[in-house]
Symmetry: C2
Subunit: 153 residues, 2 copies
C-alpha cells in the first residue's frame, strides 16, 4: 500500500541586476543551464540533457557525493520568451519515486533589473514532507543562477 501523498507549495522571489532576456537565456541555453542547475557543489553529474521547448524534456542523472543516485526528469509545459516558463518534474532517489512538482518561473522587469518569482507545488509520494528541503534547495539554485549571471556574459 502506498503512503498518502503529501501536497505542499512555496514561492521564492529574487531580483537579478540584469535584463529578463539574459535571465531567460540562462534558463533556456543547455550549456548555461547545465552549469548553474546541474553542476552544483557537492553533486556529481552523470548526464544532463535539455530540450527547451513545450513538450521537451530536461533529464538530469546525478548523485550527492557519497550518496545514492538521483534523477530529475522535467518536461516543459508552457514557455513565453523572456517572461515565463512552466514545467513539471519528477524526482527519484535510489531508484524510488520521491516527488512530482509543478514549477513556474515568472520574469518581470524592474527598475533595478529582473524580478524572478519561482512558485512550486509538489506531491511528495515517499511518505516524507520534503518541502523545507525543497525550498532550501531552490534558494540554492537561485543563488547559483545569480553567480552564473555575474560570471558568464
Amino acid at each position: 500500500m502506498s503512503l498518502p501523498v503529501i501536497h505542499r507549495g512555496f514561492a521564492i522571489e529574487r531580483i537579478y541586476p540584469t535584463t529578463p532576456a539574459r535571465v531567460f537565456r540562462a534558463l533556456s541555453d543547455p550549456q548555461k543551464k547545465r552549469r548553474w542547475f546541474a553542476e552544483g557543489e557537492g553533486f556529481e553529474v552523470e548526464s544532463y540533457t535539455l530540450d527547451f521547448r513545450v513538450g521537451g524534456f530536461e533529464r538530469t542523472r546525478f548523485r550527492p557525493t557519497g550518496g545514492p543516485p538521483m534523477t530529475t526528469d522535467a518536461v516543459y509545459l508552457d514557455i513565453a520568451a523572456d517572461e515565463r516558463v512552466v514545467f513539471a518534474y519528477a524526482m527519484t532517489v535510489g531508484g524510488a519515486p520521491m516527488s512530482s512538482s509543478l514549477g513556474t518561473m515568472e520574469l518581470t522587469p524592474t527598475a533595478s533589473g529582473t524580478r524572478l518569482l519561482f512558485t512550486e507545488h509538489t506531491a511528495f509520494v515517499d511518505g516524507q514532507d520534503g518541502s523545507e528541503g525543497r525550498r532550501e534547495g531552490s534558494l540554492g539554485l537561485l543563488e547559483a543562477l545569480a553567480k552564473e549571471l555575474e560570471t558568464h556574459g
Copy 2:
C-alpha cells in the same frame, strides 16, 4: 507583457463500488480512458492518444460544440499500479495557453469499494482564475468515470 500567473488548487474525493484494479484499468487503458475522459457530451474529439507510462504523453484535440479548438497535453510523472497516478498537463484554447496543472489520483480500497482522491494544482496563465470551472469539470469527469465503471466490465 504577460499577466501574473494565478495559482490555485482543489481536491475531490469520490467512492466507486468496485476494486482499485478496475478503477486503475479505466485510467490506464486507452480505449476506456478515451471513452469517459475525452468523449463527453457537448465535446467533439478530433484526436486522442494515450501512452500510459512514466514520461509518456496523453494528447487530446477537441472542441466544445460550436466553440474554439482546445488541446490538453498531459505527461505521466509517477505511476504505482492500482494505487497512484501523478501527471502534469497543459491546456490551450484557440491556440493560446490557458493553464498548466499537476494532477494526482490516489486509489485506496475501502469497505464499499475504492476511494479516489483527486488533487490538482494549477497555474492559470491567461489572467483568469479558472479554478471554479476546473473543479466543476473535474467533478463531471469523475461522474463520467462512474458511468464507465457501471457500463463496461
